[in-house]
């Protein structure tokens, strides 16, 4: 059974704090992704990685960075959280042309 896990389901942070969101997959997938979901905007891609230590900007990378030191783990970093980064964050993984699997999501509130 495929599994993508995210370190937190709910998170409350203050403006200016550094925030780490962790994602782990157990399917040996090459590709991993971070999205945010906002009402009416669908799923927007922040960053993705197609191999260890490789990263590519998605559609909305501003204010975020990522780290992929191991194949199974992909971290999203908010260097200085702002209120407009309050959102649902979704991690996903995928082998080359197969189905993409999502984690349960982290609902982040920045005060």
């Amino acid at each position: 059974d495929v599994k993508v896990t995210q370190s937190s389901r709910y998170l409350v942070k203050r403006t200016g704090e550094k925030v780490f969101l962790e994602c782990v997959q157990d399917m040996d997938h090459e590709n991993m992704f971070w999205y945010r979901q906002d009402p009416g905007l669908g799923l927007r891609l922040i960053y993705f990685s197609y191999d260890v230590k490789m990263k590519e900007k998605g559609d909305i990378p501003e204010g975020y960075s990522v780290s992929r030191e191991k194949k199974e783990r992909f971290s999203l970093i908010l260097e200085s959280a702002s209120t407009n980064q309050t959102s649902m964050y979704l991690c996903a993984s995928r082998r080359a042309v197969e189905t993409q699997y999502f984690g349960p999501g982290t609902r982040l509130l920045v005060l």
Partner: protein
């Protein structure tokens, strides 16, 4: 530039009837399409996919139709059940290239008893 569009933000259907969710795309390089279902506070779950070499794919109550000339796909759910109430996202990718999926904005489906 919205390459994948779901023009209906919401849809309400009677239990037992057919639900039809629509999706349009603009990029002619897209050749693999997927539908995901999402409940509140959960991650999206994969429902069904179709590649551009087919025009129909069926899995139980779910059927996806692809019209390449119109750059349009649709998801049919028959019969609709209360548990189908969720947000549905269509997604597209090119099999060659960056492997990333492009998602539509989602359609909230409500099944009324």
């Amino acid at each position: 530039d919205q390459q994948v569009k779901q023009n209906s933000p919401s849809l309400s259907v009677q239990e037992g009837r057919i639900s039809i969710l629509n999706c349009d795309y603009t990029n002619s390089m897209f050749d693999y399409f997927l539908w995901y279902k999402k409940y509140p506070a959960e991650g999206p779950t994969f429902l069904i996919s179709i590649s551009s070499i087919k025009d129909k794919n069926e899995d139980g109550r779910f059927t996806v139709f692809l019209n390449k000339s119109a750059k349009h796909l649709s998801l049919h759910i028959v019969p609709s059940q209360p548990g189908d109430s969720a947000v549905y996202f269509c997604a597209a990718s090119a099999l060659m290239g960056a492997q990333k999926l492009v998602f539509g904005q989602g359609t909230r489906l409500t099944i009324n008893p």
